[in-house]
Symmetry: C2
Subunit: 130 residues, 2 copies
Amino acid sequence: MTIAEVSKKYGVSADTLRYYERIGLIPPVHRTAGGIRDYTDDDCNWVGFVKCMRSAGLTIEALIEYVTLYQQGDETIQARKDLLIEQRRLLLERIEEMQATVARLDGKIERYDQWNQRFREKMQNSKKET
Amino acid sequence: MTIAEVSKKYGVSADTLRYYERIGLIPPVHRTAGGIRDYTDDDCNWVGFVKCMRSAGLTIEALIEYVTLYQQGDETIQARKDLLIEQRRLLLERIEEMQATVARLDGKIERYDQWNQRFREKMQNSKKET
DNA sequence: ATACACTATGGAGTGGACTCCAGGTCAAGG
DNA sequence: CCTTGACCTGGAGTCCACTCCATAGTGTAT
């Protein structure tokens, strides 16, 4: 797959794909003899993985470390697993925080409802008066 | 309350508090005759609100709009409520996305478990062989 | 009254994560 | 071949959300 196709498939710009590869966020992508990127299925999966993780909020730093470990081979399987477990924990933490924020918003929205209610009653009364 | 106290209370630097006020992320804070900020309870609540919303990921843009509407008075109650409802929706969307990512991580972690399992068995076998 | 810690302002600087660009290379159609 | 469009690299530019700084004013304890 060309970079344009991968870009379209995952909704990530070609510039960003090259940038991700340059900083080591994905392993080096397969190339044609001419030096043009030719993404294999594996390369694509890395892109999909990184896109998913990034949009969930994992730091680039953590992902680079994961890729680095991956490239060091089987010795690092435990370390990679630990890394994923830690990131999962952080993710759950953030989800909880966000749920608390939703609850806070719910409270505020409800108070606006009540306020609107009273506002409407007031309007109703002033209509009667006229 | 002085800016230092508010900073400590909410874990937001004094610089950031001044920055938030300057860009209109919180309404203007009460001042002493000498021009020094003297946060009222209301001012503090704004800080707490903004801190909570920001760390949940609401954009500064949306929050500025909320504050702007707030400062325009009762006419904007409905608009403010709508804004909060929309932000709540976005938040839930992002929570779902993150939960999907957690699930994906779970899958990967599980596969690492199995891999480790096999690795250990292999070690066991080679121990027998020696 | 003076020392000293704290605060004010406007503006410059920083770090993260892209995004754009110039100048050159590659490859498929005519 | 040659044109044309997609792709290459290294590096500069941008945007966001702070963060830091120089200079100056405030306020309280001695």
